[in-house]
Symmetry: none
Subunit: 146 residues, 2 copies
């Protein structure tokens, strides 16, 4: 019943450290696995999934899916600071996902809640559009406009 009790293992520490290190961005199971492999700390995929599940139950991470991506995203849930919420811009042309930390977004969400009663889930919401690089390259080579 006390699912918060857990052993201190090499694997658990490595995963948690990585999550905290990247608390301003979300990570995927793959990115965790790749990183750990890179630094010579092999941890099985299964173990990563199981730890994330446990951390999720404990409320230490958040899990969400980003539109257009296939795998789940996880982010360390720092309960002290609420300012690490960011939103996402996805370029429809190059596919790049931009993480945007911006105070403006809170105003928007508050407005939508106050005036329309809708509670926005920033972790799931993605703005689609064209990023600045693609805008430029499109302007330089404008040949068609259908």
């Amino acid at each position: 019943m006390n699912r918060n009790s857990s052993y201190k293992t090499r694997q658990r520490s490595a995963i948690l450290d990585f999550l905290i290190e990247n608390k301003d961005n979300h990570v995927t199971v793959n990115s965790i696995s790749d990183y750990l492999e890179q630094v010579g700390t092999h941890v099985g995929i299964t173990t990563i999934y199981r730890h994330l599940d446990k951390l999720l139950e404990q409320g230490l991470v958040r899990k969400y899916t980003i539109d257009g991506t296939t795998s789940a995203c996880y982010q360390y849930a720092n309960t002290d600071e609420k300012c690490h919420q960011h939103f996402h811009l996805k370029c429809e042309r190059c596919g790049k996902l931009i993480h945007l930390n911006c105070s403006h977004i809170n105003e928007i969400c508050e407005h939508i809640y106050d005036d329309h009663g809708f509670t926005v889930n920033l972790y799931r919401t993605v703005f689609y559009g064209i990023c600045s690089e693609c805008s430029e390259s499109l302007m330089n080579t404008e040949e068609k406009q259908e």
Copy 2:
């Protein structure tokens, strides 16, 4: 290049009809397949995926992911309305799609463009969250908060 050109086939009509019939709800590839099977109109899974992809490109459907579910959701997008000028809010709980006309959006989009160089495509962008009705019913039955 003109990817909007497409043959009129039995399969395409069947899929589009079903989408329009259910334009107030989202559907999944499975629900489409099941329904068509039920009414004796077999269409291969592959074909359904391919048509949905094409309809997505044409802007005739929207694609969503709903938290906690594994497969993607699709909903017919009514092109008559001026959907380029307002927000779409998708309730993650009841699935309702809300069209939100609000002068605030211009400020938001301008801000994102001015400060971040990103041109938002309102037609594709969807805000996920919880609608007012669901918020209320959730408040009435709050039993656990972990």
